[in-house]
């Protein structure tokens, strides 16, 4: 089945810094989503982005489907950005596969 790898596994930022999270996948995908899991465990859908670029406030995402990767950009990070960021892909079957996540901690 499709493999999903996220990097880095852990990231510590000073408030105000920018960061880039990466998601590599091993096969073509029909769907790619980025989620944020807050410290209380709630998973929030950030982007549905099988290809192209999208922006939402301080967050943006780019998926290059032909090269099998996606990037999530966080600008001017805030302490509320802390949590785990997951990439999840669907390769055309019924199942969506999650990566292991990037754990982000933003220091005040």
């Amino acid at each position: 089945g499709i493999q999903v790898e996220q990097s880095p596994p852990d990231l510590i930022l000073q408030e105000g810094a920018n960061s880039t999270l990466r998601c590599n996948f091993s096969d073509s995908v029909n769907n790619l989503q980025w989620f944020h899991q807050n410290p209380w465990g709630q998973l929030i859908n950030l982007f549905y982005i099988p290809s192209g670029t999208k922006q939402n406030g301080r967050l943006s995402a780019t998926t290059v489907a032909t090269e099998r990767y996606s990037l999530l950009y966080i600008s001017s990070s805030q302490t509320t950005d802390s949590g785990v960021y997951f990439c999840a892909v669907n390769s055309g079957g019924f199942k969506t596969i999650f990566g292991a996540g990037t754990r982000l901690f933003v220091k005040a």
Binding site: N31, G41, L43, N45, F94, K95, F98, G101
Partner: protein, 115 residues
């Protein structure tokens, strides 16, 4: 629109006991998913329903786990008997289409501790 509702929020049981979780998806979402998230890992799909039929249960430990979605709306996930390694957060999600191609919405989860 209302979100995905799950209950209970927390549950602590002893090993070999049984437990059940409940999920009510977003109205009109035909596909419902149960995920298991062990601490430090990404969510793992246990079972996926399309209306009231099972689409994928390949990773469901069927000797102890069962799930149903009667009437194609809300769903229950049961563990009997529980083991220590079942300690995890159980997440329910729903989507309008099969496979979540249009995006998922997750509930707040049930945190299960087996002692």
């Amino acid at each position: 629109e209302a979100g995905v509702a799950q209950s209970p929020r927390y549950k602590i049981i002893e090993k070999r006991q049984s437990v059940a979780f409940w999920c009510n998806p977003i109205s009109g979402h035909a596909t419902l998913y149960w995920y298991q998230q062990i601490l430090g890992q990404g969510p793992k799909l246990l079972i996926q329903f399309q209306n009231n039929g099972v689409v994928d249960d390949s990773q469901l430990p069927k000797d102890r786990f069962s799930a149903e979605r009667l009437k194609g709306v809300d769903s229950t996930l049961k563990i009997q008997p529980a083991k220590l390694e079942d300690s995890a957060v159980y997440l329910c999600a729903s989507s309008r289409t099969t496979g979540g191609i249009d995006g998922y919405t997750f509930g707040s989860g049930t945190r299960l501790t087996v002692v």
